[in-house]
């Protein structure tokens, strides 16, 4: 037992040391600047803000850096997962302490998550290009879809990929990874995009026929993060992903993967955040939503890779909208037929794989 205690003490001492080192680094990298107009006083926003988010690490880093700079007295706790899991956790856990949900909330959701959220309109609403008519969501992102490819693997296979149709090449069988639309929001967005671009009409037989053929070559995962991470690691040649996070990872350097925009076309949808019903730290939650809609936050995202919802947000170095051949989506139709489309997908998957 003595041994155990001393080993534990040693571990925690080493950890404590490492932690202290890490903090110093972070502090050294920042310097003062003009306080943004939307920011409340730092003394006003205190305590802990619990953030439930679908954001990947690089995006979380941007969020945390800006927050800690503006509100140094308020600590942020992050719980990251796909949006369905986050919603279930909030519903089933009265002590979750969740204040805000960031990411995974899309304009076509309808009232799907209204039971766990409360309406709030950002103080910067006038600057926003997109608005949630029901008053719950505040958008900070416009999500565009893409394919992520691993050029090395594709070269070995001797194929090139420019769009959805190229994925049906026989060499790619078993080399494609996609996110399960019934588990991940990006999987659901990819399904929308395929149906919008590959059929003659949205949700028609031709679109589903393509999906059926695609499934035969594909593996599926529950997490959108697997899609780009495993393509980057060379586990798969191509992944069906959303654009901003892999683009950001690529921009930071060291990644093998590349982004390809489907030559058949694309879709865009505003995505955002909302305050949780009975948020324990409502003041900080509001401050967070305001920050998300601000030019400062969205510009930092754009610097790395991201399309903002604020009209004054600078253009990112991502390809301009007009080059993407964007197809319109009917949000009402999506909201009403989501379950049927999901069942269709699941049935088809089981059929193709059995």
């Amino acid at each position: 037992m003595k041994k155990l205690v001393s080993v534990l003490l040693l571990i925690s001492a080493v950890c404590g040391f490492a932690f202290a080192g890490g903090n110093k680094d972070a502090a050294a990298g920042k310097s003062g600047g003009a306080r943004p107009s939307w920011a409340k006083s730092a003394d006003e926003i205190t305590g802990t803000l619990t953030v439930y988010t679908t954001m990947e690490e690089t995006q979380q880093d941007i969020l945390l850096n800006l927050w800690n700079e503006v509100y140094p007295k308020c600590k942020v706790e992050i719980v990251a997962d796909s949006v369905g899991t986050l919603a279930t956790k909030i519903r089933s856990d009265a002590t979750s302490g969740a204040d805000v949900v960031i990411g995974g909330m899309f304009a076509a959701d309808g009232d799907k998550y209204h039971d766990i959220l409360q309406p709030y309109t950002s103080t910067l609403d006038k600057e926003q290009a997109y608005h949630d008519p029901s008053g719950y969501y505040t958008f900070y992102d416009v999500q565009v879809m893409c394919l992520v490819i691993n050029p090395n693997v594709l070269k070995d296979l001797g194929v090139s990929v420019k769009g959805y149709k190229d994925l049906l090449q026989p060499q790619l069988k078993g080399k494609i990874i996609l996110a399960d639309p019934s588990a991940s929001s990006s999987g659901w967005r990819q399904l929308q995009t395929i149906l919008a671009t590959m059929g003659n009409k949205f949700d028609d037989e031709k679109g589903w026929d393509y999906i059926k053929q695609l499934m035969a070559s594909s593996f599926k995962t529950n997490s959108s993060k697997d899609v780009y991470n495993l393509v980057n690691e060379g586990e798969y040649a191509v992944g069906l992903s959303y654009e901003s996070t892999p683009a950001g990872i690529i921009a930071q350097g060291g990644a093998t993967m590349k982004i390809v925009y489907m030559n058949e076309g694309n879709t865009a949808m505003p995505g955002g955040a909302a305050i949780v019903k009975n948020a324990p730290n409502l003041k900080a939650a509001k401050a967070m939503i305001d920050m998300l809609s601000s030019v400062e936050f969205q510009n930092q995202r754009a610097d790395l890779a991201g399309r903002g919802s604020n009209k004054n947000c600078k253009a990112s170095n991502l390809p301009a909208d007009k080059t993407l051949n964007l197809k319109p989506l009917d949000y009402d139709y999506l909201g009403k037929n989501k379950k049927a489309m999901m069942d269709h997908w699941n049935e088809l998957w089981a059929k193709v794989k059995s």
Binding site: E57, T85, F219, N229
Partner: protein, 548 residues
């Protein structure tokens, strides 16, 4: 007068335990059942109809059974010869071998699965190595991979069980067989296997249940090969799921299936009833020559392969990562990042939860053992039967049952450390109470009676005589329970939040978020804690007395 008072103590105890079971076991299972057949206030079997009408759902049962049965067969085929060599021959480094065996089976679930992806995924170390020799198409994903990972993790259970059974064989039976011309392989199959059949069946059941309930491995490397626990999890937590009703119905179906397997095993065991006492213990032979080398190679190779993933994960935890991107070189960056991701809180929670749970199950197990062995009445029998129920319930099922009833009034404990403790106590109780009961049976009541006749009260004789006599058996069982609690995750993953995160769940969360280096750091800390527990355990136990 005095006597009736003490009788009351045990009566009160048995009713108190029964009360606890009703609140924390019967009530949640009732809640689960109600959730499965009631929807919007009406009785309805629609969830069951839905399950059996779509191949997407019901094939998961077939998949789960196929995996569990294959893993069971593989574990027996690998584990029985291993145990035979280990018990009957004087292998070099026996103790070391056995500790490694324990370490393999005690490792946190799905950490192994993730390490195998790094080793044998489409771009894994081994895969690339094989590719340079022109061997392609090797993949860890799907059915084969799940079987491989689970087999390597679970075969040591068979070894531990069989080692105990082999040592209970009386030498004279072996000699008798030999004198009648039954030798070698013939003797192994006709005598040794038959004599140990009850243990083989018990080990088979344990492996089957563990494999059937495992959730991490198929989730990580199934890639389209969905099993029941994964389906339950997806239906419960998936974006378009959060369907309590359907998840509850699948849970009920799963429990019925495992109950059937449990009963089949019971019946099969019933056909091999005999008692045997090893008056003449078996002889440990020297192993020499080619067969000796082969035996050593077999055992060490198997354990080596099983340990490989854990060693590789520790190595990866020191690689340099930028979030999910692996860079060149080595650093402590993963540990630094892990600290900002609640590594300390997770370690803390793990220790608090495991120690609390352990205290509770030891107390309950000792009391239950006493009641079952010494007070064989209806209430005791009921307690005994109920305490075995969690054995057939996969962790995901227990997690969902608890969340259904305890996330609303009157018992609103979802999201607290309390619910994690309850879930783990329920999961481990059958194992600890079984071994406590077995220990209790070996203690003759006459010793207690002697104490009582000398004037000690019944409570005093229990506390001062019986409990100390049970302690060695209990401690050995308890420490292994401790390790299992530390590495448990299937019920926790449904119940955790940021405040109640544990090391294993932390690892899962970081893998899920694609921060593999940080996940490796969490896994390494878990492994260190496991090793410490095992060292403590070996201080208290002789290797021969290991029970799982």
């Amino acid at each position: 007068m005095n006597n009736s008072k003490k009788l009351e103590f045990w009566n009160v105890t048995s009713f108190a335990i029964l009360g606890l079971f009703v609140i924390f076991l019967i009530y949640p299972i009732g809640g689960l059942l109600k959730e499965a057949v009631y929807t919007s206030g009406k009785f309805s079997m629609d969830a069951f109809t839905r399950f059996f009408s779509k191949s997407y759902y019901y094939t998961t049962i077939y998949n789960s059974f196929k995996i569990a049965l294959t893993v069971m067969a593989c574990c027996l085929v690998l584990g029985i010869p291993f145990a035979y060599f280990y018990t009957f021959y004087n292998l070099a480094g026996r103790k070391f071998l056995f500790v490694l065996c324990l370490l393999c089976t005690m490792s946190a679930p799905f950490i192994g699965a993730y390490a195998w992806i790094l080793l044998m995924g489409n771009n894994g170390l081994v895969t690339r190595f094989l590719r340079t020799f022109g061997i392609g198409h090797v993949t860890i994903y799907g059915f084969g991979g799940i079987v491989l990972v689970q087999t390597l993790k679970l075969f040591p259970l068979v070894v531990i069980y069989m080692d105990g059974a082999f040592r209970d064989i009386d030498r004279s039976l072996m000699e008798a067989a030999e004198s009648m011309g039954c030798k070698g392989m013939n003797r192994f199959f006709r005598v040794i296997m038959t004599l140990t059949m009850p243990t083989i069946l018990a080990a088979a059941l344990l492996v089957f249940m563990r494999s059937f309930a495992d959730f991490g491995t198929p989730l990580l490397i199934g890639r389209g090969y969905t099993t029941c626990p994964v389906l339950i999890y997806n239906e419960y937590l998936g974006e378009n799921g959060s369907d309590y009703h359907f998840a509850a119905a699948i849970s009920i179906i799963v429990v019925i299936m495992t109950a059937v397997i449990f009963l089949i095993q019971k019946t099969a065991t019933g056909m091999f009833k005999f008692s045997m006492s090893a008056m003449h213990p078996i002889e440990v032979k020297k192993c020499r020559g080619i067969s000796g080398v082969l035996m050593h190679f077999y055992c060490y190779f198997l354990v080596g392969i099983s340990m490989l993933p854990q060693v590789y994960i520790i190595f990866m935890s020191f690689r340099r990562y930028n979030n999910s991107i692996l860079l060149k070189g080595y650093s402590f960056v993963n540990y630094q990042k892990a600290l900002t991701k609640n590594l300390l809180r997770a370690t803390n929670n793990t220790l608090i939860i495991s120690i609390l749970t352990l205290a509770i199950i030891i107390l309950l197990a000792v009391l239950i053992a006493y009641l079952v062995v010494r007070r064989g009445n209806l209430v005791s029998q009921a307690i005994d039967t109920i305490s075995m129920m969690p054995y057939i319930m996969p962790g995901a099922v227990i997690g969902i049952a608890l969340v259904i009833v305890f996330s609303k009034k009157p018992f609103c404990i979802a999201g607290t450390l309390g619910i994690m403790v309850v879930a783990l106590a329920i999961r481990r109780l059958p194992f600890t109470s079984r071994s406590a009961t077995a220990t209790m049976m070996k203690i003759s009541p006459s010793i207690e009676e002697a104490a009582i006749s000398l004037g000690a009260s019944k409570i005093k004789s229990f506390a001062r005589i019986t409990v100390p006599m049970m302690s060695s058996g209990i401690i050995s069982g308890a420490v292994l329970s401790w390790v299992s609690i530390i590495t448990e995750m299937s019920s926790g993953v449904i119940l955790y939040n940021n405040k109640t995160i544990t090391l294993t769940i932390g690892t899962y969360v970081e893998i899920n978020n694609g921060v593999y280096g940080v996940a490796a750091a969490f896994a390494t800390v878990t492994t260190i804690l496991t090793v410490i527990c095992l060292l403590v355990y070996l201080k208290f136990t002789k290797l021969e007395d290991v029970e799982v």
